[in-house]
Symmetry: C2
Subunit: 414 residues, 2 copies
């Protein structure tokens, strides 16, 4: 079933139009004939985003604050939004902060027809001194640009947008509760706004950021989830766009997710190929801690960035923390493909220590069991446990840096 598109040597180009270049798609590094040039992938020679040109229009009707405990992820929004228009002749227009309001778009706009849309998910935290902090915003901006380029939307200067995100987050700081676990979820979004039906690169676009105050993912402490392994649908594939944060990757996930829920599971686990590689859990990256069958060494394993895995900022942070703090304790930190059968074998032999999802919303989400081929693969938790040791440690280590308890370069003070 799975057809891996391994790079293969092809005869060098005979015609002038074939230039051997590296592909920014990142998949077939050198051997393939045709690649996507940066020039073709995005327009960058026009006016860039200029934070000094920010125009602020304050709302005349500030919203009352919701009780912190009533906050639902992504359901209520702050007073304002940040907007920056782009067109192919001018480049980026002046940034605006305006009251959160509806967008008015022609029904022919290409975002409605061809999914010219990409986004980011990031959070602003309030530290003990009342300062607002972003977490690794450079990572989000880098990915945002990669996602945009992959669908012919414009790129921008990351530092300029981080500057604007920081100003926006500070403006909305009254919406961020002081308590641990609370934050302001920021949603940078870019959409194509060209209002013609030809399938072409959008000649105009809108970048906007909305913000939603959010509470702790597990208000009363961790709750381990159970997963259903999905083998009838495929989220991503080599040469596709599953490693980019495009809207296109999300709508197709809903039905498999709903199927899993209809059978009593909280999420689905995406498998890939005949080998049934374990790839992602719902919309999170997946980590598993197992004891090596041969050596007995403890290993923290996650899928490699082969083009089918979202390049999660939390994934990267977990790997970094693990290499810094678990490796010295004897752990082996590994990015490699892992099959469901391997996972099942480890569980059967008592070598599966724990498993968790990793993403911006939950940070880490402990996994109790996986339903696969009619059996339940237990992921190492005892009945009364809701989280494994590594999962808990990771959450605490991450939060220490997010909330600025531990001063670290990952934390960006606004």
């Amino acid at each position: 079933m799975m057809r891996r598109l391994l790079p293969r040597c092809a005869p060098r180009a005979t015609a002038a139009f074939i230039a051997p270049r590296r592909s920014p798609l990142g998949l077939f590094p050198a051997a393939r004939q045709y690649s996507i040039s940066p020039e073709a992938a995005s327009e960058t020679k026009l006016q860039d985003i200029d934070p000094s040109k920010l125009v602020l229009t304050r709302t005349s009707k500030p919203k009352p604050l919701k009780k912190a405990e009533d906050l639902v992820f992504g359901a209520t929004f702050t007073d304002h939004m940040l907007t920056i228009e782009w067109d192919k002749t001018t480049g980026w227009h002046n940034p605006h902060i305006v009251p959160h309001q509806n967008l008015s778009l022609d029904p022919a706009s290409c975002v409605f027809h061809y999914a010219f849309e990409c986004f980011e998910g990031m959070k602003a935290y309030k530290d003990k001194a009342g300062q607002i902090r972003l977490f690794r915003p450079d990572r989000n901006m880098e990915r945002f640009n990669k996602s945009a380029a992959r669908i012919a939307l414009p790129n921008f200067d990351s530092k300029a947008l981080i500057d604007l995100v920081a100003k926006f987050a500070k403006l909305e700081s009254r919406f961020i509760p002081e308590e641990r676990g609370y934050s302001l979820y920021l949603r940078p979004t870019m959409i194509g706004t060209q209002k013609t039906l030809g399938v072409n690169p959008p000649g105009s676009a809108l970048l906007y950021i909305i913000a939603s105050p959010v509470g702790p993912y597990y208000p009363t402490g961790f709750k381990a989830v159970s997963l259903e392994a999905t083998d009838y649908a495929v989220r991503a594939w080599p040469g596709g766009v599953g490693d980019k944060k495009l809207g296109a990757n999300y709508a197709p996930c809903i039905v498999p997710q709903r199927e899993a829920m209809s059978r009593g599971f909280q999420q689905n686990l995406w498998l890939f190929g005949e080998e049934e590689y374990v790839t992602e859990v719902g919309t999170m990256n997946f980590f598993v801690a197992i004891q090596n069958k041969q050596t007995g060494q403890k290993e923290l394993i996650t899928a490699p960035l082969d083009g089918t895995i979202l390049e999660g900022v939390t994934r990267d942070s977990v790997l970094s923390l693990a290499r810094e703090r678990l490796a010295p304790e004897g752990w082996n930190i590994v990015e490699r493909k892992l099959t469901m059968a391997e996972l099942d074998e480890a569980a059967t032999e008592g070598r599966l220590v724990e498993a968790f999802g990793a993403g911006t919303a939950a940070i880490v989400s402990p996994v109790r069991a996986i339903s696969w081929k009619g059996k339940m693969v237990s992921c190492g938790l005892k009945d009364h446990e809701e989280s494994g040791e590594i999962t808990t440690k990771m959450k605490n280590w991450m939060e220490a840096r997010q909330y600025g308890d531990e001063e670290h370069e990952w934390s960006y003070v606004c």
Copy 2:
């Protein structure tokens, strides 16, 4: 990102939740464990679309008509649009025809973030008697429902929507030029409008139809196109959504298309897998006529509907016409996988008769050559020819039914 805080319920006993059902995704017919039940894929028990409830609000500013020869595909629109709202408690609201106008949507609407969007492309033709005719609208509606269900958008009664499409097309009939080759391109679109950021089935949606008068794809007669075979990016995958008409399938096509154009080709040709199967050309299905190497019999070949190929209405019509009119002349009409190497071999041996793309916009689009691995594979046309015999016949056969010259069940008189 996803907040799934449902109380953890223990998965049911191992056997109960595994029902061996056929998957409507159509990919793993029987052997796989989990499938998508129709109930999970769409809500159908609420109020359906009711054409008798149509409310018409005529524009007070009818647009002047453009000169027929100035029409650009999908760039100008008619006076009105059809809109039908849906929500999960009511179902479909009353249909409205209103002046073509901007949509006003919250920036958190799920269509902007997770690509909850699907569409159709269909045309209304004016026959010699001045009647307006749709072409196989039942096929479009069937596919529209399949696309919507795959991304958890609501389904509807096909006949009811065809009735409304017909009313809408008749209302806009002054925009349809009389001349052969002209028509009114209709764009039924469905978008998710729920304004929360959780990745969930949309609780509200909007179905709308806009219309654009269009001219002949080749105003001065056929122009054969040259293609670049794309082997560094993959459009669709088994178990993915490449056979559905989702916005998600389109934005990722632009960069490869633009790459091909930057090297002087009109379109790209999508290959699949290590075998380099020929799948689609740009956003059209692909047909090739070759002489069988063993038997010498002429064969018209197109890729099978294996889940990676869009179920084109034109594709189906071409196959039907070929079985009806070419098969009796000794042609073999075949839906099978075909590799680029096979195509190249046939070209080298003088067995490649002709090749063409097939889709609603162009009907058929003759192909002159394909750039593949640094060589040009010639597709059977002589230098002075712009179309092969079968390609030309197909266009004429199709138009005879589209414009009602030949009375046929495919043509639906409004």
